[in-house]
Symmetry: C2
Subunit: 463 residues, 2 copies
Amino acid sequence: MAELALWAPQAWIAGAWQPQVLLEAGADGRWQRITPHTPPPAQAERLAGPVLPGLVDAHSHAFQRAFVGLAERRDGEHDDFWSWRDRMYGVALRITPEQLRAVAAHLYTELLAGGYTQVCEFHYLQHQSDGQPYADPAAMAWALADAAANAGIGLTLLPAVYERAGFAAAELRPDQRRFRAGVAEVLALQRRVRAAGRPLLDCGAALHSLRAARPEALRALAAASEGPLHIHVAEQQAEVGDCLAATGCRPIEWLLQNAALDARWQLVHATHTVTAEIDGVAASGAGVVLCPGTEANLGDGLPDLRGWLAAGVPLSLGSDSQVTRGWSEELRWLEYAQRLQLQQRNVAAAPGRQGATAARLFDRVLTGGAAAAGFSRWGLQAGARADLLVVDAQEPALIGLPPSHGLDGLVFAAPARPFARVLVAGRWRDTAHAGRAQAHRAALQALWEPAPGPHEALTVPTG
Amino acid sequence: MAELALWAPQAWIAGAWQPQVLLEAGADGRWQRITPHTPPPAQAERLAGPVLPGLVDAHSHAFQRAFVGLAERRDGEHDDFWSWRDRMYGVALRITPEQLRAVAAHLYTELLAGGYTQVCEFHYLQHQSDGQPYADPAAMAWALADAAANAGIGLTLLPAVYERAGFAAAELRPDQRRFRAGVAEVLALQRRVRAAGRPLLDCGAALHSLRAARPEALRALAAASEGPLHIHVAEQQAEVGDCLAATGCRPIEWLLQNAALDARWQLVHATHTVTAEIDGVAASGAGVVLCPGTEANLGDGLPDLRGWLAAGVPLSLGSDSQVTRGWSEELRWLEYAQRLQLQQRNVAAAPGRQGATAARLFDRVLTGGAAAAGFSRWGLQAGARADLLVVDAQEPALIGLPPSHGLDGLVFAAPARPFARVLVAGRWRDTAHAGRAQAHRAALQALWEPAPGPHEALTVPTG
């Protein structure tokens, strides 16, 4: 007997739209049966629009939501990723667990509204502002877990090893003091989070980057950690150059030679690559997490999208610095940035008859995202968690589109708020929660007091 | 005595936020007085959020709204602007005045919601499907005017001279037969539209492009036409090459040498330029209309944004093929595409202390858009039309931003629906009109009957 029975006029199942779909979930919050070509039964709730599986947001730093819109002013002759990072550290030094809980709960509500039902938190903001551990060393982790539970999104926590300021550094910079975590601390946090047995909460691990974690730490973590293993890699040209200078290898090349990459591994960004690296990653089974909005905001550069697609590498999307918080805009501009560079259209479409760009990208990040969050089953299939998105049939951007082109419209018609309802683990979630918005507002006002003046970029102490 | 008195906590006036602003409009639909630093008078309506002037959408082909989301599939080995154009011609051949009226009314409602209060229609879809004039040769123009009046947006109609299929062609292609218009027809239509005296309706003129209009036509139109003069130019590399082959000049170079460019002229796209062309345009007073969403969708390439900004050229935004319909996303990705290419941040910001990227772009397109639509006064100032946008203070993306950073947030925090209310000529407009959406749906269903199958790109007869 199904706990929940829903009926949709159309559902995206195994890469195609199926008509008249009955979706039944059990009390365990998982799909029991999904049956297309079924007239609506009397006991099923009829949904008003087509349904899609939720996607995984595979890379999030929730605390960075606190300064979205506050770093978009040039305050010197040169402005790039690294000057942005200095400002970001200021936020990282300032935010409290209570503020993080409020900011993350609002963010996670926005992510649900944007079509994500699971978020991977690449978590390196561990300690108090002075660098000392909190009384409960997991205080910041629990703030994130509380926020996810409040919003009703699934959370894959990824505590990160963060040991040094660069390849040649023995130590962290003073403004990185809240990030310090070795392999033992990360594994201890992973054990605690897993033992807590909270619903919709899982825990893998991360290494911040090759520059911030020693090779021995990488090998020790990979040997002992459970679940997915994420690492920032090859986001910036300077990082590639530093790695070459320190190790004689490009960063992905180094991982391929030294890290025994496999399907647990997720390479975040992987913007600057050569063909041999793409081939190597494909052979390893590792996935790549693209963050199109953030990579654009930070001027990282363009990934080799066609290369990753052609090589069959699992891909996923990350909201990262939170400047974009929905997959419609991420996929649209992932593709558009390629078109601008290559001066072609439908770059990501497979050649041949079924060359639908949106569908190819969506299906790739659907399965790639599941892998990035450590799910063996995901999407609209029996045994997977009962998540789904109901497309808003009244969204002005989508009105009148032929049903066969719903996914094309979701990505390329620039819908403002594409989803009317979002289900996670068999429960409808509130994607417009006034209380969470209010708590976010209060947290930001406290963080930015005194507020920056009309001509000021955000400035925060970083020392 | 003011007909309308509004009070806002904050308003964007002459390039800065002013607090506590009283805005008074007369019965003529124009601002009479705008007074910052005023406590809210009892008789004024208190607005719930900050207010901004509306922007001009300086380049629209309304009929192209009918196939947004339907051309995003690769159906051959090569897919680019030109294969897209063949599909677009199919739509152009099929749409009726009644369908255009419905599609354009929905589009214009979306444009209002996206922060535009005036739209320039670059209008070349003149005749019946068989190429014969309608009984009223202005039937398609009136469809656009009716749609704009229905939505409540201001309209600058720009009927376009369209004479030939290319530099070397004497005639149009068969699938361009609805576009035929010489200088006499354009001037006749301009006189009729101006004589109609409809509110919020004005008329300039256009030349489709250098390849589609003869030099004599260009000179004759410029000599006799009233109002702004728009032309597509240098959107595609192939177009630059064709112009070079036919004339020995690049297209903007040709205009600078032969067209007596002045402030009436608007160069649409101007994507592919050399420095001397930018300098020449700057000296001429002509403006440039950028269409970031469409230029990305079509793989046109990147404009020299820094070059145009530094030269002081008036810039504006166009929704063009309608794949994006709000200025927040247009400005965000105009800047982001530059960051991806240059691997820097805040590319459009002026160097120096006030280097706010969003404000610089917004102010440039505010004044540039007014010029593109032929307004001598525009924005929040006495004598200008009483248009404004009220920012939605409950928009999740913007909650908690310091008031000084409202414009940064509107552009870079990726708000879904930024504006709670839109005023045009002293009247609030309905930006979520169910009846217009329903008529649009019916028009699209009629246009796409039979609907494309699940694996099909949109195919339409073009012969």
